[in-house]
């Protein structure tokens, strides 16, 4: 196993971050970290907060980069080689093409009812990940279960 992908949903889902770092270290794999600015989520947040979509996307993107760099710091402290990516678009479409293009061997994603991929939409995304992503998927349960 050479390439492990951590799909970063939120900075709170640290169990999955730790798992991704541990596995990458144990297997001497490169840890790819991906944050997706999902346009549907941007639209919903902008509508809820009454902000413009562009401003909302900028805030979400910058937040995404912070998560990515926090992860990188943790990975570097463990001596794990990382590559950071931020993409915009539909979550499943991006994950599917990313896994194919980068020949990812394992996708890791954190899941909790409270944060990140949570609620009904989260359940749907998890189902779609398992169904459509062309590699093994490890869903890491976070606290709160």
């Amino acid at each position: 196993m050479e390439r492990i992908l951590l799909y970063i949903v939120s900075g709170e889902l640290r169990t999955s971050w730790n798992r991704a770092i541990e596995l990458s270290k144990a297997l001497s794999a490169t840890l790819y970290a991906l944050y997706i600015v999902d346009k549907e989520i941007v639209r919903k947040i902008a509508r809820l907060k009454g902000d413009g979509e562009i401003d909302t996307a900028v805030k979400i993107e910058e937040e995404g980069w912070k998560y990515l760099y926090y992860l990188e710091e943790m990975a570097v402290d463990s001596g794990v080689k990382t590559a950071l990516f931020l993409e915009e678009g539909n979550t499943i479409d991006i994950l599917r093409s990313f896994v194919r293009e980068k020949n990812i061997d394992l996708l890791i994603v954190g899941h909790s009812r409270e944060q990140g991929i949570g609620g009904r939409k989260g359940e749907r995304i998890i189902e779609q990940l398992v169904e459509y992503i062309p590699c093994p998927v490890l869903i890491e349960k976070e606290g709160g279960f």
């Binding site: 900028v58 993107e61 910058e62 937040e63 980069w65 912070k66 990515l68 760099y69 926090y70 710091e73 570097v76 001596g79 080689k81 990382t82 590559a83 950071l84 931020l86």
Partner: protein, 150 residues
């Protein structure tokens, strides 16, 4: 946020440079000559160590070499524009034309991450990258950074 760490003395415009480590050395030497940092080798060592673990050449001609070390007292941010580009072993294998060097003390982790995130976000804007590449003076680059740093 970015502008509070930048001034014209911390911006270099070069036609070409031998390789990425020579460029990083030039940047550190510039900061040293301006009295912004007091030591050279521990900072270079930390950056080299980081570059050897993973290239900080991202994509679209941008590189963000970065490291945390107690060899600096405050966050150091520098910019280099290299007209002919330099090989940074980037993920897309393209030469790098714009380099943001970020070095921070261990305790400034939060600010360091914020600066990295802001620069990464700005660098995804094609207009920003083009403007930096077309700039002919450090003063102009500083003005562009201020404009996009919102």
């Amino acid at each position: 946020m970015i502008e509070e760490f930048l001034d014209e003395d911390l911006i270099l415009i070069l036609d070409n440079v031998e390789d990425k480590f020579t460029l990083i050395e030039k940047m550190i030497d510039k900061a040293l000559s301006k009295g912004i940092i007091m030591t050279r080798e521990p900072i270079l060592h930390k950056i080299r160590e980081r570059e050897e673990l993973e290239s900080t050449g991202v994509v679209e001609g941008i590189a963000l070499p970065h490291a945390r070390t107690e060899a600096v007292k405050d966050l150091l941010l520098m910019i280099s524009a290299v007209k002919e580009g330099v090989d940074f072993q980037s993920l897309d294998e393209k030469p790098v034309h714009i380099v943001f060097l970020i070095v921070a003390p261990e305790e400034a982790k939060k600010k360091y991450i914020q600066v990295l995130a802001r620069i990464s976000r700005m660098c995804r804007e094609e207009e920003f990258r083009t403007a930096i590449m077309e700039a002919s003076s450090p003063e102009e680059i500083l003005k562009i950074v201020k404009e996009f740093d919102q």
